[in-house]
């Protein structure tokens, strides 16, 4: 019988991976751009977003809901590598996918002196947090990179002296820029004035169309008799426009809930006209085009049932047309009845008519309806900056003219590790005699003044087993709990819920720690790290679990020194934890061991495999966009 190949059954394997119940050669690899001039100290993906803009709504009124829409919130990815250049400075390069090259991204300078910062050639911890990229480098305070675009605000105009007053009135601006537009975000600027005599509410809805297609709408609400007026209103939208595209501002609707009762007396006619007729004397159409006739039928023996016909006068053909009929089962000798008829396009001066089949049993009283004949005045003007000196372009946008980059050493601690936690950044600082933990105020990761509100600093004096138990790294256990790794112990930091001492720290695990800070990875099953005893562990809120047994002896024999250059990465798709180690005193990572975390989670099986890395490897990284 053929024997299937259980994963983990091989005592020795290189560069194979498991797939569909078998094994195969592992995935290949390719270069990403040109070489860095010197050792790459960190590769990190910086994710940040532009400020969001919320537009829409009924200008402060909530009764009618809103058209609120969020635009902007564009997410950016920058893959960055940092190295110590020939002058000992911290130099950044950024991956430009359009030319598939690494391009210069700045040299860190001191915030006060403006001088380039000197750093040591050691692994760098970098975190992308709150739109900033922070680096903990050896030999300097924390470095922060901030990127913001340089924008030229410009735009196109609507025609001079335009005015929109009624439904379907519109004005059009022609988009003219050949330059890329920041976020493809546009603002349509205009003024609007709504007046209403009655103490009622009116809603004016404006559409913005691009080449005839509606892209967004905004409602403006006014209450009589004050009305509303805005000298500068705007509607934003996001759309990739081409040169000569039309952007149109249009009054889509003018609506009010104000209803007025109207009626017209039916008067006896006959002859070529129906038995009773009435003239529509008001201009506004009925709400829903519904007209209610009131009439009386009188019994006459032998005439049951009685059919009543309803007419309108068609002035175009000069004829009476039946628009509805109603058959009555007559039960009494005299009844006053009502019947509602839908008659579209009844205009002022048109006539209604009513007549029963034999023209003998009917008395007509009146026709009644409700209309919206409210005196509303609307005036909208699309802006024209050039000729009319309006406050802005009618179609405003920003052209990107480059990027403003800040890459500075800030005033703060010389941190060996930084970690986002509790809406802050935590810094571990390892001094010659003491270790300490620093934290920024909530939401302000640039502020490392420990006396600022919400910020702080705490020395960690109490080490139980080792008087100099060096701090190594940190990793979040949960949103409220942070593991702090030392050489021989693990502490736990937590939110206190107070601003004066926002972060608390207590002892947790003794006799287990790490000397390989960059081995720590946050995975769905917990924090995986290489322990000081060369065992790979998983740390979670429920405790610690060894998972490195299959490679423990290998690591003991081969990972003999340079523990600080052990590096790792977690592949969240295949759920693989990569652990790279230098062997026999190498200054580079020479072997990579890969733990199948998915199998561990799902089947509780520990399966490791190995991957070669040519002549060596420096830093791992994970990116979501290239």
């Amino acid at each position: 019988m053929p024997r299937q190949i259980p994963e983990g059954s091989s005592p020795n394997l290189w560069d194979v991976r498991f797939e569909r119940g078998g094994f195969r050669k592992d995935f290949g690899e390719k270069f990403l751009g040109q070489a860095a001039p010197t050792t790459v100290l960190v590769i990190v993906e910086h994710k940040f977003i532009d400020e969001g803009v919320i537009s829409g709504g009924y200008e402060g009124y909530s009764d009618y809901g809103s058209y609120a829409a969020i635009v902007g919130q564009q997410q950016f990815h920058r893959l960055v590598r940092l190295f110590r250049n020939a002058l000992g400075q911290a130099e950044l390069e950024v991956w430009d996918s359009s030319i598939e090259q690494w391009v210069f991204g700045g040299i860190a300078t001191n915030f006060a002196t403006g001088e380039p910062v000197q750093i040591e050639s050691r692994y760098v911890r970098a975190v992308s947090v709150q739109n900033l990229l922070l680096f903990a480098v050896a030999g300097a305070s924390i470095l922060i990179r901030e990127e913001s675009p340089i924008l030229d605000q410009t735009g196109d105009d609507f025609p001079s002296e335009n005015e929109l007053t009624s439904v379907d009135d519109s004005t059009t601006a022609v988009f003219s820029s050949v330059e890329p537009i920041h976020f493809n975000r546009f603002t349509v600027n205009f003024s609007i004035d709504i007046s209403i005599e009655e103490p009622e509410v009116v809603v004016v809805t404006l559409d913005v169309d691009v080449n005839g297609e509606n892209v967004t709408s905004l409602g403006f609400q006014a209450t009589g008799p004050d009305g509303m007026s805005q000298d500068h209103a705007s509607i934003e939208f996001t759309r990739a426009l081409a040169v000569n595209d039309d952007v149109t501002l249009k009054i889509a609707s003018i609506e009010t809930d104000a209803a007025f009762d109207r009626d017209a007396n039916l008067t006896q006619a006959g002859g070529s006209d129906p038995l009773y007729i009435a003239e529509k004397t008001t201009e506004a159409p009925a709400i829903g085009n519904n007209y209610t006739f009131r009439y009386m039928l009188q019994a006459a023996e032998g005439t049951y049932p009685i059919t009543v016909n309803f007419f309108r006068w068609d002035s175009g053909t000069s004829t009476w047309n039946i628009v509805d009929s109603k058959e009555h089962d007559f039960e009494d000798d005299l009844e006053i009845l009502t019947h509602t008829v839908n008659i579209p396009e009844m205009e002022q001066g048109d006539f209604f008519g009513i007549e029963d089949a034999d023209a003998t049993n009917l008395d007509g009283f009146e026709v009644s309806w409700q209309d919206q004949d409210v005196d509303i005045t609307v005036s909208v003007k699309g802006f024209n900056l050039t000729e009319d000196n309006d406050p802005a372009f009618g179609l405003a946008y920003a052209i990107e003219e480059g990027t403003d980059l800040d890459f500075e050493e800030i005033e703060g601690p010389e941190a060996l590790w930084i970690e986002p936690f509790a809406d802050r950044v935590i810094a571990l600082v390892d001094g010659p005699n003491t270790q300490s933990i620093w934290w920024t105020p909530s939401g302000d990761v640039k502020n490392w003044d420990p006396f600022a509100e919400g910020a702080g600093q705490m020395d960690l004096f109490d080490t139980r087993n080792d008087p100099i138990d060096d701090l190594q790294c940190a990793a979040p256990l949960s949103s409220d709990s942070l593991a702090i790794f030392r050489h021989r112990s693990i502490m736990r930091a937590f939110r206190t819920g107070q601003s004066i001492q926002a972060i608390g720290v207590n002892h947790w695990l003794e006799n287990i720690g790490t000397e390989s800070p960059f081995s720590r990875q946050v995975t769905p099953i917990g924090i995986i790290f290489l322990g000081h005893d060369r065992m790979v562990y998983i740390l979670s809120e429920s405790g610690i679990r060894p998972v490195g047994q299959p490679i423990h002896q290998i690591l003991i024999e081969r990972l003999t020194s340079n523990l600080e250059i052990v590096d790792s990465v977690f592949d969240p798709v295949f759920q693989h934890y990569y652990l790279g180690i230098p062997v026999f005193g190498s200054q580079l990572i020479c072997e990579v061991y890969i733990l199948d975390v998915a199998r561990l989670m799902n089947e509780d099986k520990i399966v490791w495999r190995r991957r070669s890395c040519g002549n060596g490897l420096q830093r791992f990284a994970l990116a979501s966009e290239l």
Binding site: M1, I5, K25, L32, A36, A598, N615, R619, L622
Partner: protein
């Protein structure tokens, strides 16, 4: 559980993520699921079997034939070496010609003559084509038992 894999014709994972590193020449590399070479270089990936006769048995066996069941995206080759001493020494390589198999498994067998107390084999992938070895079957002949004396 089946390991996640890329179906034939799919070069990239649907979820975007890229595993990167800087190599010894300060060049950044990324894992590329659509290829098997290492930025132009070929590595000799291999997989060692566990002991075929049960490690530690005080009895000698001879591997006479080995069958591999595989699937492959293209015609290719794998090389198999056998060991009678638990992988300390490996005997001459024997080539297995791999034929592209779109559907189902294909099987191929070759003769061996390797004896020892701990018989194993090593599958080596010398080419950059996707060959998945799903099953194996080894024919072992037990040799005469030793008479423990005196």
């Amino acid at each position: 559980m089946t390991e996640p894999f890329l179906p034939p014709g799919v070069d990239r994972l649907p979820a975007r993520r890229f595993v990167l590193w800087a190599d010894w020449n300060n060049r950044v590399r990324q894992i590329d699921e659509s290829r098997l070479d290492r930025a132009g270089d070929t590595v000799l990936a291999y997989w060692d079997s566990p002991s075929l006769n049960g490690e530690g048995e005080d009895r000698e066996f001879t591997l006479t034939r080995l069958l591999l069941a595989y699937s492959a995206s293209a015609n290719s080759e794998v090389v198999v070496r056998a060991s009678g001493d638990g992988g300390v020494t490996w005997h001459d390589a024997i080539s297995f010609d791999i034929v592209e198999s779109d559907v189902g498994l294909k099987r191929i067998a070759r003769g061996f003559n390797v004896s020892g107390f701990d018989v194993r084999f090593r599958v080596i992938f010398p080419q950059d084509e996707v060959v998945i070895v799903h099953e194996y079957s080894a024919r072992l002949l037990p040799r005469s038992e030793y008479i423990i004396g005196p």
